[in-house]
């Protein structure tokens, strides 16, 4: 999730209410249970909601476009080159979202809300 979040050591506040009332949208950084390993929680950004058309690069010369199915979201890490996300495992069901990250507490020079 570079450059938005550091590699390690960032402390962020996440709330677990928004996703239950449907207030998660494109641009939000969310905590998501990995579809590949249910014991891991990933931090990714929501790029597309259900019904959105998403374009992504499979390799530098070939881009693919998909429509996000009903009940799913498309998540991507901000660090395009080193992120394992929906470009690899496809759109994830909305039910896997565990919370929304809205504030960084540590380090002090990053204190505040995250960029959209």
């Amino acid at each position: 999730m570079l450059p938005t979040l550091n590699l390690t050591g960032d402390l962020v506040l996440a709330e677990h209410v928004s996703h239950r009332i449907g207030k998660v949208g494109a641009g939000d950084v969310v905590l998501v249970r990995s579809p590949v390993d249910p014991r891991r929680i990933l931090t990714k950004r929501v790029v597309g909601m259900e019904g959105d058309t998403v374009s992504f690069y499979v390799d530098p010369m070939y881009s693919q476009t998909t429509v996000v199915p009903k009940g799913h979201v498309w998540i991507q890490g901000d660090n395009t080159y080193a992120s394992s996300d929906s470009r690899h495992f496809g759109p994830v069901p909305y039910g896997l979202i565990q919370g929304k990250v809205f504030f960084r507490v540590w380090p002090p020079d990053g204190f505040g809300t995250l960029e959209q």
């Binding site: 249970r33 990995s34 579809p35 590949v36 390993d37 249910p38 014991r39 199915p69 009903k70 009940g71 799913h72 994830v92 069901p93 909305y94 039910g95 896997l96 979202i97």
Partner: protein
């Protein structure tokens, strides 16, 4: 004055019980009604029953997400996160499952971190045969017992069609 403090005491007790109940139901176990006949005859064996079956759902399985073939689980629908479904796990990650697609027999490998769920009543069940394998992260609990009606109280058995599943790794 006396009635007011009595009322306040009752409210406090009610809220405390509510919070404890909510915590237990969220983290350990809860009792839920089974709607529909997709798990017939395991649950709701006859559509003309007046009451739905109630089952005990345990949440301890969510610590390690280790399930077995034949476990009946509660999960969020992949197409609508607000709906919860109860189905049986037929295949686990890495298994090969035999399905029929457009009257062609097909064999699918269940991807890592996913499972294949089916209702016991194949004729009237919307399950993995329609929406494919689901991520294990969508599972919210495992059904262990039927607790209502009283004559059907008992353990929920682990059974599954072994002839359709191959666990060779």
């Amino acid at each position: 004055m006396g009635t007011q403090s009595l009322l306040w005491n009752s409210v406090k007790k009610f809220l405390t019980c509510g919070l404890i109940g909510l915590t237990i139901s969220d983290r350990y176990a809860s009792i839920v009604p089974v709607r529909g006949a997709s798990m017939s005859p395991t649950f709701n064996p006859r559509a003309r029953n007046f009451t739905d079956d109630y089952v005990l759902v345990e949440k301890f399985c969510l610590k390690k997400y280790e399930f077995s073939h034949g476990d009946v689980v509660v999960f969020c629908s992949p197409s609508n996160h607000k709906e919860k479904h109860i189905k049986r796990i037929i295949a686990l990650p890495g298994d090969w499952i035999g399905t029929t697609h457009n009257s062609h027999d097909d064999v699918l490998k269940v991807p890592k971190g996913h499972c294949w769920v089916e209702g016991d009543n194949s004729a009237s069940s919307i399950d993995s045969r329609s929406f494919g394998p689901i991520p294990l992260g969508l599972v919210k609990g495992r059904v262990t017992h039927v607790v209502w009606p009283p004559r059907r109280i008992g353990l929920v058995e682990r059974v599954f069609p072994q002839e359709r599943v191959s666990s060779l790794k």
